[in-house]
């Protein structure tokens, strides 16, 4: 029997766990019952819709153009989410789109270029999903950190500018701190994998009946993919923001 074939009844039964979460909310008077129920229903609807849509891209005889269209939508939506969550400026929308595209190009380029995976809808869409999904939080974080630093660390940055440093050099320590803050959680997650937590891709494969050794190999490539994508996205985003924070006369702009 395929362990992952849980059927609709199984899905419904797992919904009991949502009832547990709602129960906790009621018990501790968190006022989150409606939010939990809405989140659970929304996730169900989104995943069902994605499941249907994926049918058109993951079959071997589906044209690759569908997979790339899917990718385009994912990138646009990720850029819009970053814009909405981090800072509602057109510059953030454009920069984050460039950052996600660059990250996908680098990481998927390595995986497909070295033949780790065969390029097909079945590999392109999920791997790009992992790249973007895992980069999103770090990109929002680094964006918020850099804009906050432009105000909070103004004295430090202008102190360096006043000594004749270029904007790039004056901003380097601030940029480094923001990048470290964005990357360290992913590095810690990578270090802890297998000890504290079993990652989702591996769990999914094992539940679906894949040999654990094969699942581990896939998971390792996915972990490296995530780390590489987070590093690439945050680096591109932060360098782009750093350029936008200064005028051509190497003056730190005032951020509202």
């Amino acid at each position: 029997m395929n362990n992952a074939d849980i059927g609709l009844l199984g899905v419904a039964a797992s919904g009991v766990l949502i009832a547990v979460a709602i129960g906790v909310s009621l018990w501790r008077q968190l006022g989150l019952e409606a939010t939990i129920a809405w989140a659970a229903l929304r996730a169900l609807a989104q995943l069902l819709a994605v499941g249907v849509a994926l049918q058109f891209v993951v079959d071997d005889d589906d044209p690759l153009i569908y997979a790339f269209l899917w990718l385009a939508v994912m990138h646009l939506f990720a850029a819009y989410t970053t814009y909405r969550r981090a800072r509602q400026e057109r510059m953030v929308l454009v920069l984050s789109l460039v950052a996600y595209l660059a990250s996908s190009a680098v990481t998927l380029g390595v995986l497909f270029g070295f033949g780790v995976y065969e390029p097909s809808g079945r590999t392109i869409v999920p791997l790009a999903g992992i790249v973007i999904g895992n980069s999103l939080s770090a990109t929002v974080l680094v964006t918020n950190r850099l804009f906050a630093a432009a105000t909070e660390r103004r004295t430090d940055i202008e102190g360096r500018l006043a000594l004749g440093l270029s904007a790039t050099d004056a901003f380097r320590p601030t940029l480094r701190d923001a990048l470290r803050t964005a990357l360290i959680p992913q590095i810690e997650t990578t270090k802890a994998v297998g000890i504290i937590a079993l990652p989702g891709a591996m769990v999914g494969l094992i539940l679906a009946g894949t040999d654990p050794h094969d699942a581990v190999r896939v998971q390792v490539s996915v972990m490296y993919l995530v780390l590489g994508s987070v590093a690439t996205t945050t680096a591109v985003m932060s360098l782009g923001i750093a350029r936008q924070l200064f005028t051509s006369a190497q003056q730190l702009k005032r951020i509202d």
Binding site: R160, L161, L163, A249
Partner: protein
């Protein structure tokens, strides 16, 4: 047309025209919000005016490379920015190639013991940090030094030490534009005085000239009528 600066729709400095002599200590004073810091920030292009031209030695600042200009026109802030690392690391920000000998020499110049070179900069007292920041600025060999209320965060003794250092630097040939809201300090230090009020030039001249100024606000801002001031006839 004079210089205006600050937000375009609500400039802090409004249509100011003046030529600042490059000698000794020029004290810039005026009530809060008069535009003192805004004026000084124009002089090393941390900000640009929204109208008018700022020139150094007859040359529009916009024609200067900003980094080169800022090494010519050093700046000391009200609260000295202390960068990560040791005092030596802080000096290296101004001059990455600074030798140990020059680093010790510049510390001695600001009356700090050379042993401080290896001390983490965040362990310096407020007065020591300010003197370190002056040493850092001097490492770029500036032709002019801007000082934006450099003693505002310091206590009496440290304040006087920084004032003495300022006087020594100015007498050594590096003129200082020194913002102050302390009339006693102004009277101790100023060779020339520039007074701003409400974003406009209120008065400019030698302290002795301004002591006789007909406008009571001018005399008040320079402490001319205070007991013991030169304006009251005592030294």
């Amino acid at each position: 047309m004079g210089v205006s600066a600050g937000p375009a729709d609500q400039p802090i400095l409004r249509d100011i025209s003046l030529s600042i002599p490059v000698e000794g200590i020029l004290a810039v004073a005026g009530p809060s919000g008069a535009g003192k810091s805004t004026l000084v920030r124009l002089l090393n292009r941390l900000d640009d005016p929204v109208a008018g031209t700022v020139a150094l030695e007859g040359s529009d600042l916009r024609d200067w490379d900003p980094a080169t200009l800022r090494r010519h026109v050093g700046m000391v802030f009200q609260k000295a920015p202390v960068f990560a690392g040791t005092v030596h690391d802080n000096l290296c920000v101004a001059d990455p190639d600074v030798t140990d000998e020059r680093a010790r020499h510049v510390l001695e110049h600001v009356a700090l013991p050379p042993e401080l070179l290896d001390r983490p900069a965040d362990r310096l007292s407020g007065g020591e940090a300010q003197r370190m920041s002056i040493a850092r600025a001097l490492l770029t060999r500036p032709k002019v030094l801007l000082a934006d209320e450099p003693t505002a965060a310091l206590d009496g003794e440290a304040r006087r030490a920084v004032e003495d250092l300022g006087r020594e630097i100015a007498d050594g040939g590096v003129p200082i534009v020194w913002i102050t809201h302390d009339t006693d300090q102004l009277r101790r230090l100023a060779d020339h005085v520039l007074l701003l009020a409400d974003g406009q030039l209120l008065a400019f001249g030698h302290l002795s000239e301004l002591d006789e100024h007909p406008d009571p606000l001018v005399r008040s801002l320079i402490g001319a009528d205070a007991p013991g001031s030169a304006g009251e006839g005592s030294s």
